[in-house]
């Protein structure tokens, strides 16, 4: 009997660990390093209707215990993702969570309707929180009414459960969480990156060509934990937590705060084997805590 399997809407996970969207491409690169079937799920890179070439470089900058990025949703577009990337991933025994992005509601609806029909896409993750594109993305994630409207439109066409990825760049994340729940979301994924800036030591100008970037890495974990903790208290749909997860203890922390599963982002760039390493380390963590199954720790901070 597995001690770490998790059931969520649309998702039967062997374990609660999945690489976060944007940190794993469409899996091809990491597939050369280890067997992707080991993962609980894969959140693929944001897919838009059209091909997107992203932002100018430099697109990344290192910060204290973290990094900024402004990639700009570069992706080959829905046609190529359907024709090439998802069939490649179908060679592995792993459910795919497709991250969906767009400029207008119609874009989200089109991508969601098509990509949700791919046999290995078991859930969608609506990207209403990308801080690095001028239109779309975060504008849907900062206003509760707009967020709700988008979720309703996507729910009407999606063949699989819909999760919504929340932005931390808001005054009250609980309001947004409640709004997407009211719109029919099946789950929440959180958090996306925090908007930040790093200046060049000599020129005083931003290092990243886009000016601002999204902050990720261990530096943001306390913010993410606080927000998962708050949202868990206020909604009845499951949460996939993320933000600075680097080891098995971080997973325990997120699940204690209320996450039912956990995504790993920036840590994949530092330790390219971090996901399988965390999965292997979880049973020993459960032993330390005197817990039989990992579901027992979900939300224990609140009990």
């Amino acid at each position: 009997m597995s001690r770490i399997n998790i059931s969520l809407p649309g998702l039967e996970l062997k374990n609660p660990i999945m690489p976060a969207s944007g940190c794993f491409g469409f899996g091809r690169e990491y597939a050369r390093l280890y067997d992707l079937s080991k993962l609980g799920a894969i959140m693929i890179k944001a897919t838009t209707v059209e091909t997107r070439s992203g932002n100018p470089t430099p697109r990344v900058a290192e910060t204290a215990a973290g990094m900024l990025n402004a990639i700009g949703l570069q992706n080959p577009g829905i046609d190529k993702v359907m024709a090439e990337e998802l069939p490649f991933l179908a060679g592995y025994d792993v459910p795919i969570i497709a991250n969906v992005a767009g400029t207008e509601i119609e874009d989200y609806v089109e991508v969601a309707e098509r990509i949700s029909k791919a046999p290995n896409v078991h859930a969608l993750e609506l990207n209403i929180s990308c801080p690095n594109v001028k239109c779309g993305g975060i504008q849907f994630g900062t206003d509760p009414a707009t967020a709700k409207q988008l979720v309703e439109a996507v729910k009407a066409v999606s063949s699989v459960p819909v999760y919504v990825k929340l932005s931390p760049n808001v005054t009250n994340i609980v309001d947004i969480a409640k709004a997407v729940e009211a719109g029919g979301a099946d789950g929440i994924t959180m958090i996306n990156t925090l908007i930040g800036m790093r200046l060049h030591e000599k020129t005083g100008k931003p290092v990243i060509a886009n000016g601002t970037g999204g902050l990720s890495g261990p530096a943001i974990k306390p913010v993410a934990i606080r927000m998962v903790y708050e949202v868990y208290k206020n909604v009845n749909i499951p949460i996939i937590g993320m933000g600075g997860v680097s080891d098995a203890q971080d997973v325990i922390d997120f699940m204690s705060a209320g996450a039912s599963a956990v995504a790993v982002g920036t840590a994949n760039f530092v330790d390219h084997f971090v996901c399988p390493n965390i999965i292997d380390a979880l049973p020993a963590k459960l032993d330390e805590l005197g817990v039989e199954h990992i579901t027992e720790i979900i939300g224990r901070s609140h009990r």
Partner: protein, 257 residues
């Protein structure tokens, strides 16, 4: 194949102002080719967080040792410069596509042009070209005499010319100034260095085949994060290339300069 290995420091030495030569031993040396790089984690903590991409200056399959030459100029490389013999360094590699050694036939001549910290990968390239019976000409550009290195190593392998921005060693100016005077006869050129230098070389030798090694800020180093993309010229079939996994070496004319 890219592997992650905890490699052992054999030797570390300061060979010029802020320039260090670090020799590591381990199994992944056997997979290395000239022009590839390694992605190095300098510490065990979150500070600094990301790996450092560093080029390969020497490969020795028999001893399973390789050498990297780097400039200690930031937190990461400064920490790396403190490593001593017997210490362990976490290395991911080898990464990327290197210089095609077989682009020149035995008996032919290759022109190798390096700028600053772009010089190191040309050393292993020069070694392998010479082993193949290719004559190599080296034109090496630096800011100043105090940051030059490997004069003896390069001189052993072929005619070696120095250029410094301040004129403290060799010709004063840019490598292109020297190449204008030298008018070297060669079949193929290989280069690694700052973007303006690569651009000038492409313009200077429009009729010669050439291979250029690029540098860009990276995160993952394996092609997954899309940090290090470059736009391509119109004639290339793809709109963009990734420096880490498609490069770092590209035939001239691929990357839009």
């Amino acid at each position: 194949m890219i592997r992650n290995e905890r490699m052992t420091v054999v030797h570390q030495a300061k060979i010029a102002h802020n320039i260090f030569e670090l020799t590591l031993q381990g199994e992944l040396v056997q997979e290395m080719t000239p022009g590839q790089f390694v992605h190095v984690r300098v510490g065990e903590s979150f500070e600094p967080l990301l790996r450092r991409p560093i080029s390969i200056a020497n490969i020795n399959n028999e001893t399973k040792e390789f050498t990297m030459i780097y400039r200690a100029e930031g937190r990461g490389t400064e920490l790396l410069s403190k490593k001593q013999a017997g210490d362990i360094v976490d290395v991911l590699g080898p990464i990327g596509n290197g210089f095609p050694v077989d682009a020149v036939q035995p008996g032919g001549t290759a022109l190798l042009v390096g700028g600053g910290i772009g010089v190191p990968p040309l050393h292993e390239l020069a070694k392998q070209l010479n082993e193949r019976g290719v004559r190599t000409i080296h034109v090496l550009g630096f800011q100043s005499e105090n940051v030059t290195f490997y004069e003896e190593e390069f001189s052993k392998l072929g005619d070696t010319y120095y250029v410094t921005a301040d004129g403290t060693k060799g010709t004063k100016g840019f490598v292109t100034n020297l190449l204008d005077e030298l008018k070297p006869k060669f079949d193929v050129f290989y280069s690694c260095g700052p973007l303006p230098m690569l651009k000038a070389l492409e313009a200077q030798f429009p009729d010669k085949p050439g291979y250029l090694s690029f540098e860009e800020r990276m995160a993952c180093g394996i092609g997954a994060c899309f940090a290090c993309v470059c736009n391509t010229t119109e004639k290339h079939e793809k709109d963009y290339v990734k420096v880490c996994s498609d490069g770092p070496v590209f035939p001239k004319g691929v990357v839009a300069l």
